[in-house]
């Protein structure tokens, strides 16, 4: 089966783990005479149009199957319906959910959900006793990223605390120092902030320094979406509370292999949806996670 | 004597704190060449920029056919029939000869909203005008101006002004970069324009050129009219003195040769103006 996967930006850590899952599933597809094509956004600047454009590109390639995150349903639904109408089997991955998959006629949903993951993070903070959580958003306006912070805020609010988002202007994106200093400033300004969560693993590296510099080590706790080596080292060392893990490797690996096997062999999984998260990586499960990170799968 | 086309009355011009022109009164008449003379920085270019709508006077008025006018933009002066070749620029290196010639007043063909630029006609007229200036090498109106020599470009700019100069033609040092032949052609053009009844304002640093075409001379010294006289009223030596800033100079352009010969190659001592 010829399968196309649509995914996030090239240099986004999360989506590189997705890519690892795809790459690992590819030999199985190819062994059965198929191919896998990973179509990635170049950036998140023109989000909905670019995603839909990629779906249309996939349709134009006359693939047999399509794995697609349903980030912006209003925009993507018509294109996904067109794909299904063109005889392409679709699995929703990472964003969308079971309901949406049924509605569109996709064969399954594999993933967690940005919003649900955010809620899990917010609740984790709440359970840990945090009362005021700041979600650092270095890509304000981007749909999937906004969902993360929204989830965090709803999660902590649900536990009786409060949360807010800190949107950073584009002039700060990618400058570790500008991000760190912005967080530090917020911490200095609002003494009650006792939890900080960043939308990416890289920003957490800046946040860690910011917390330290604000003199809040131990009082303001740090969480992050996604993981990198440095973040896991911090969890192990006790300077970071947790990372939210959707297990992206499983999302793409399972989505691609399920879809290929459905198309090639007619298999169907009775489980609907297939949930890969949200999982929380904290001090309790850090060692197993570290092993996966070294192989690029976590 | 005919009535003046253009008259300047008590024109002053300052750029911020810098006063460049003081109480200028001048008139230009049809069929007459006014030579504007003066040292570097005397204010000649500034004066003609006021006449061509590039600058507005700080105080004072301009009269056209005896009626006060204001030239808020070059276009207005142009529409009043005043056509100017400025000292620098005026052509566009990456444009074709035809387009550069007609810039701002493009000829069109067709009708209504679908009037289109008439390339063939523009090229033909431009090439003819430039050839009339003696630049017979130019035959293709599609050639880029940037490919022409400095002299050829200057000739193109002058040809343009002559072509559009309905009533007044202003030339700011048109012969500065030109070779002997081209300069002679420009002087002819000036005479031809005068013969057709245009008023011409001609700026030059070369006495010979001034005397060859001028009917009327105005000398600017430090932004004020220091002398205003007609052809024949002053000798070449007097004019040269005035052009050099008004000081009487021991050594002048025309004399240096003889001087050098008698002084065995030693230059005369500098006299500070």
């Amino acid at each position: 089966a010829d399968i196309a996967v649509v995914g996030g930006s090239n240099d986004d850590a999360f989506w590189n783990i997705i890519k690892k899952g795809i790459d690992d599933a590819t030999p199985m597809v190819e062994a059965n005479g198929g191919s896998v094509n990973y179509l990635r956004l170049v950036n998140y600047d023109n989000f909905a149009p670019d995603v839909v454009q990629l779906i249309r590109t996939a349709i134009s390639m006359e693939v047999d199957g399509l794995v697609i995150p349903n980030w912006v349903p209003e925009a993507e639904d018509p294109a996904i319906k067109d794909a299904i109408a063109a005889g392409i089997k679709v699995i929703l991955m990472n964003a969308g959910g079971a309901e949406k998959a049924r509605e569109l006629g996709a064969i399954n949903y594999v993933g967690s959900d940005e919003y649900v993951a955010g809620v899990a993070g917010g609740e984790y903070f709440g359970d840990n006793g945090q009362k005021n959580v700041l979600c650092i958003n270095t890509l304000p306006g981007t749909a999937n990223i906004e969902a993360r912070c929204k989830g965090v805020i709803d999660g902590i609010t649900g536990k009786g605390g409060k949360g807010a988002q800190l949107p950073l202007p584009s002039t700060s994106f990618g400058d570790a120092t500008a991000v760190a200093e912005a967080i530090k400033a917020e911490l200095l300004k609002d003494e009650t902030i006792d939890g900080v969560i960043t939308i990416s693993a890289g920003d957490a590296d800046s946040a860690a320094i910011a917390v330290e510099q604000a003199g809040k080590t131990g009082t303001t706790l740090l969480g992050s979406f996604d993981m990198n080596q440095a973040g896991l080292d911090r969890i192990k060392g006790g300077t970071q509370l947790f990372s939210i893990d959707q297990q992206p490797y499983l999302q793409s690996y399972l989505a691609v292999s399920l879809l290929a096997s459905h198309i090639d062999f007619g298999t169907d999984l009775p489980i609907f949806p297939v949930l890969t998260g949200p999982g929380i990586v904290d001090a309790s499960n850090i060692d197993a996670t570290l092993a996966g990170v070294a192989k690029g799968a976590r | 004597m005919t009535a003046p086309i253009l008259a300047l009355k008590n024109i002053n011009k300052s750029f911020g704190p810098i006063d460049v022109l003081h109480d200028i009164n001048l008139e230009v008449r049809p069929g007459e060449v006014l030579c504007l003379l003066g040292d570097n920085g005397a204010g000649k270019s500034t004066l003609i920029k006021i006449l061509s709508g590039v600058h507005q006077p700080t105080t004072g008025t301009i009269e056209l056919d005896g009626k006060e006018v204001i030239f808020p933009a070059p276009r207005v002066a142009q529409e009043a029939g005043i056509s100017t070749v400025h000292q620098f620029g005026g052509t566009f290196p990456l444009m074709s000869i035809g387009r550069s010639f007609f810039v701002g007043v493009e000829p069109t063909k067709g009708w209504g909203p679908f009037k289109i630029y008439d390339r063939a006609r523009a090229n033909a007229i431009a090439v003819k005008a430039v050839q009339d200036m003696g630049i017979t090498r130019i035959t293709d109106g599609d050639r880029l101006v940037g490919g022409l020599s400095g002299g050829e470009r200057q000739s193109l700019a002058i040809a343009r002004a002559v072509h559009f100069g309905a009533r007044v033609l202003i030339l700011d040092e048109p012969t500065a970069a030109l070779g002997v032949k081209q300069a002679t052609h420009v002087l002819r053009i000036v005479n031809e324009a005068k013969r057709r009844g245009l008023a011409v304002i001609f700026i030059t640093h070369q006495v010979m050129h001034a005397m060859a075409v001028g009917d009327h001379f105005a000398v600017l010294i430090r932004g004020a009219v220091a002398a205003d006289f007609r052809k024949g009223e002053k000798t070449r030596e007097e004019i040269t003195d005035l052009m050099a800033g008004g000081a009487s100079m021991a050594s002048l352009e025309g004399e240096i040769e003889g001087y050098m010969a008698t002084h065995d190659g030693h230059p005369p001592q500098a006299v500070q103006a």
Binding site: L39, N43, D45, G141, P169 | M95
Partner: protein
């Protein structure tokens, strides 16, 4: 950047006229762009196979080119006139959000949404234009300022009004058909038609109507252009209005087509449009270029951008491939033009 570069390419520069000889064809500003286009077409046909050139595949890059091209042409005209407009990057999400908030969030008539979006586009253009002509600040800086300002307005107002950064919009009827649909239910966006019509209109405006000449004159030498009687201030404002309105228009059509609008930086349109324009043979220093060249440049960029998906290259290397291909396209463009010139023109020196 320097004033001297302006004079350097004269040697290699053709006239705007159109004789029919091969030499004069090659000397036109769009010739290099066309060759660059051919080269990337061949490259991707070789590495990506034929899907890429089938109707469905073609629509994939034509749609991208259409969205970009509508912005790239006015940006290119500004560059020909010696100015830059960076703010288009923010105008795309601004346009999308305006129509989505008015006709989606508030549920008002889509025509009102369209009218207000266009009006905002014109307004920002007027502001940019006025600031450029009234101050001595270069347009790069002015529009960089308005880029940030508009980004801030979009984010701030959208969150203030809708409490969200993503607004849904459902449009039916003629507005959908005219602005945001697929042609005949097929693969091509209606935007492609807009793009072609606008390109034709620009070609007429720039290369046939008498006013087009003015833009080249302004880029060649703004002072001389003004002295020649061209209303340079009015033209500058007009061009800024064109570019920001076009960007708002593209954003609006995207919102109507995709039923939603997001707040986003939109910076990719900035570099993408500049690249398309320069690959299309417009001189960064102004005074030279052509609409058809920009048209080819846009297609070249769209093919490079989309073509990657049709190849087997590891996606991680796509930025490298795009960078190298763009450099090659510009270089080819330059060198080929020079080669063509020395092969076809033999004139005497004196």
């Amino acid at each position: 950047m320097t004033s001297t570069t302006a004079s350097r390419p004269v040697e290699a520069m053709p006239a705007h006229g159109s004789n029919l000889s091969l030499g004069s064809l090659l000397r036109r500003p769009e010739a290099g762009a066309f060759l660059g286009l051919l080269a990337v077409l061949i490259f991707f046909a070789a590495f990506g196979g034929l899907t890429f050139l089938k109707p469905a595949g073609m629509s994939s890059w034509l749609n991208v080119a259409a969205n970009l091209g509508i912005i790239a042409i006015p940006v290119g005209l500004l560059m020909i006139a010696g100015e830059l407009d960076i703010s288009v990057g923010a105008m795309v999400p601004f346009g999308a959000m305006t129509v989505a908030v008015i006709s989606g969030h508030y549920g008002m008539s889509i025509w009102l949404g369209i009218a207000v979006t266009m009006a905002f586009g014109v307004t920002v253009g007027l502001i940019n234009g006025y600031m450029v002509i009234r101050t001595a600040v270069p347009s790069l800086i002015v529009t960089l300022g308005s880029l940030f300002a508009v980004q801030g307005i979009v984010l701030g107002l959208t969150v203030l009004i809708t409490k969200s950064t993503s607004v849904a919009l459902t449009v039916e009827g003629p507005a959908k058909v005219i602005f945001g649909d697929f042609l005949f239910g097929g693969q091509l966006q209606v935007m492609v038609i807009w793009w072609l019509v606008l390109t034709a209109a620009y070609v007429f405006f720039i290369h046939f109507s008498p006013k087009g000449n003015w833009i080249f004159a302004m880029g060649g030498d703004k002072v001389s252009a003004r002295n020649a009687g061209i209303p340079t201030d009015r033209m500058t404002i007009l061009l800024f209005v064109l570019s920001s309105t076009s960007a708002a228009f593209v954003g609006m059509c995207q919102a109507i087509l995709y039923n939603s609008a997001q707040v986003a930086g939109g910076q990719s349109f900035i570099f993408n449009s500049i690249i398309s324009v320069v690959v299309g043979g417009v001189l960064l220093t102004g005074g030279f270029g052509s609409v058809v060249g920009i048209f080819f440049g846009t297609i070249t960029f769209a093919i490079v951008n989309q073509g990657i998906y049709y190849t087997d290259f590891d996606r991680n290397w796509s930025a490298l491939i795009i960078g190298v291909l763009l450099l090659l396209a510009v270089l080819m463009n330059n060198t080929f033009r020079k080669m063509a010139l020395s092969a076809t023109t033999k004139k005497k020196g004196a």
